[in-house]
């Protein structure tokens, strides 16, 4: 498979841009924005936490669209897109969970609690891990792609649940940053946002979304390379 020069160049520029954005957002997190009034230095991890969440959310939406598109068109590329998006989404949501735990240790005095938000995120992660298990368990390639597409649509229900749960459950202690919240009582670790915090937050989210798209592109290319090598191996074996 040959890629056009211009596309490769675009990808290279996008990679440079993501590295640049990441460095800038790192600088913003650690130097531009000051420590938060009540939480202090530990609050800085929250930018990465939210950035990784948005990246994984975008990737899971991509996987949902890829699943629907695969079932409609039956083109293999949609399956590759879905697989790549879910693999990366798992990594980003793992970053999200780990940074959340590190933040929660000083703020909530525990690494993990069975709060509705944390529970649904854990379930979301498990649902997409199960997607990989399903792929590994089915041998026929056509059936594997079809089932994977169906399951990626079903698994999105857990993403949906994660989004709405802190808005409908009043007993969560997880802060709601974007959008309306059902109640502010009992939320531990909420804080007022200054202008600099808002700017840094939006910039970090933007950075992580760009990084996730760049990685997605690279991952798809990797998948194509793997297939190319497999095809060549098969050819060699048949000729020998």
């Amino acid at each position: 498979m040959q890629y056009s020069e211009s596309r490769t160049r675009n990808l290279r520029w996008l990679t440079y841009a993501s590295i640049g954005l990441f460095i800038i957002s790192f600088w913003m997190i650690f130097s531009y924005v000051g420590p938060e009034r009540t939480q202090g230095e530990v609050q800085r991890i929250f930018y990465t936490h939210l950035g990784a969440f948005f990246a994984s959310f975008v990737l899971f939406v991509v996987a949902l669209i890829a699943g629907i598109q695969y079932l409609r068109t039956r083109h293999e590329k949609w399956d590759d897109l879905g697989l790549s998006a879910i693999e990366l989404g798992l990594i980003f949501s793992l970053i999200n969970i780990v940074t959340g735990a590190i933040w929660a240790r000083p703020i909530w005095n525990t690494w993990w609690t069975w709060d509705p938000r944390l529970t649904t995120v854990a379930i979301m992660w498990l649902a997409y891990a199960a997607y990989l298990m399903l792929r590994a368990g089915i041998e026929d390639p056509n059936r594997r792609r079809r089932f994977a597409a169906v399951y990626s649509i079903l698994a999105f229900s857990s993403v949906f649940l994660t989004i709405i749960i802190i808005r409908v459950r009043p007993d969560t202690i997880h802060p709601v940053v974007a959008g309306p919240t059902s109640t502010s009582e009992g939320i531990e670790g909420d804080f007022a946002m200054s202008d600099r915090i808002t700017t840094t937050l939006l910039f970090t989210i933007f950075t992580y979304v760009v990084i996730s798209i760049t990685l997605l592109w690279h991952r798809i290319r990797l998948e194509n390379r793997t297939k190319l090598i497999q095809a060549r191996k098969m050819k060699l074996l048949l000729n020998a």
């Binding site: 079932l71 649904t120 379930i123 979301m124 498990l126 649902a127 199960a130 298990m133 399903l134 368990g137 089915i138 041998e139 026929d140 059936r143 079809r146 089932f147 597409a149 169906v150 399951y151 649509i153 079903l154 698994a155 229900s157 857990s158 649940l161 409908v168």
Partner: protein
């Protein structure tokens, strides 16, 4: 039920249109569900295992959680739904595996009927078996946990929860049945997806049993209804893609 009498062949001779050759949708659904029920009534391999499993699970729970009266009221909803989910998973795996191993799944797919009708037929069978477990548990938990579960609203929750469970379960089990380690894969695939149903059913039951106000449990029942509806629709659209060959 008079589902065994087949009428469409006689009417189709006068009407040469191709769509007329199909068996009516609801007749397919009903005869498939009826077939499952009759097979179960004769063989009793699924329901017996499910009921026995749920009795054992409840016994283990009541040993493990020796609680005072108030704590029992708070936990009995959780025990109910965990047992339904595990016993239901046991039955689902069997229901689809039997269909595939005996080759009757292929035969069903050859029949000139709507694929989604096959889905709803299988789903109704699984739904009724799960419901049987649910209502057995109502008796068992009332006796062993000493909490009165004979409440119509709780029965509504059980019906809605089992409906959602059977819908999603039939969909996922019809995928996992083709996998290599299907007995292992089914719970792994199923549990994350049915979690919205289990959470809202458990919350509604617990809120109801601990005598909370109506506005504490009614939203969960509504959510349960919405989730059921969404999964019923998802089954309609997605089952075609799972069984096409």
């Amino acid at each position: 039920m008079s589902v065994t009498t087949t009428t469409p062949e006689t009417t189709s001779t006068t009407q040469p249109k191709k769509r007329r050759l199909r068996t009516p949708y609801f007749q397919v659904v009903a005869s498939l569900a009826w077939k499952d029920l009759r097979a179960e009534a004769r063989g009793r391999e699924m329901v017996n295992a499910m009921l026995l499993f749920s009795i054992m699970a409840v016994l283990i729970f009541s040993f493990a959680l020796e609680l005072d009266r108030q704590a029992q009221e708070a936990t009995v909803g959780g025990v109910l739904w965990v047992t339904i989910a595990f016993a239901g998973t046991l039955g689902l795996g069997r229901s689809l595996a039997a269909e595939k191993d005996k080759g009757s799944l292929d035969a069903l797919l050859l029949a000139p009927v709507e694929r989604s009708a096959l889905f709803y037929g299988k789903m109704i069978g699984n739904f009724l078996f799960t419901l049987a477990v649910g209502f057995l548990l109502v008796f068992l938990l009332t006796v062993l946990f000493n909490v009165n579960l004979f409440r119509p609203v709780l029965w509504l929750i059980i019906v809605l929860g089992c409906l959602g469970f059977a819908t999603t379960g039939t969909l996922v089990a019809s995928m996992s049945v083709h996998a290599r380690a299907r007995e292992m894969l089914l719970p792994i695939l199923l549990l994350p997806v049915i979690l919205p149903i289990i959470i809202s059913a458990t919350r509604a039951s617990t809120a109801l049993l601990t005598e909370l106000k109506t506005e504490d449990w009614l939203p969960w029942i509504q959510l349960l209804g919405v989730v059921d509806f969404v999964f019923l629709l998802a089954g309609f659209f997605l089952f075609d893609f799972i069984v096409e060959e």
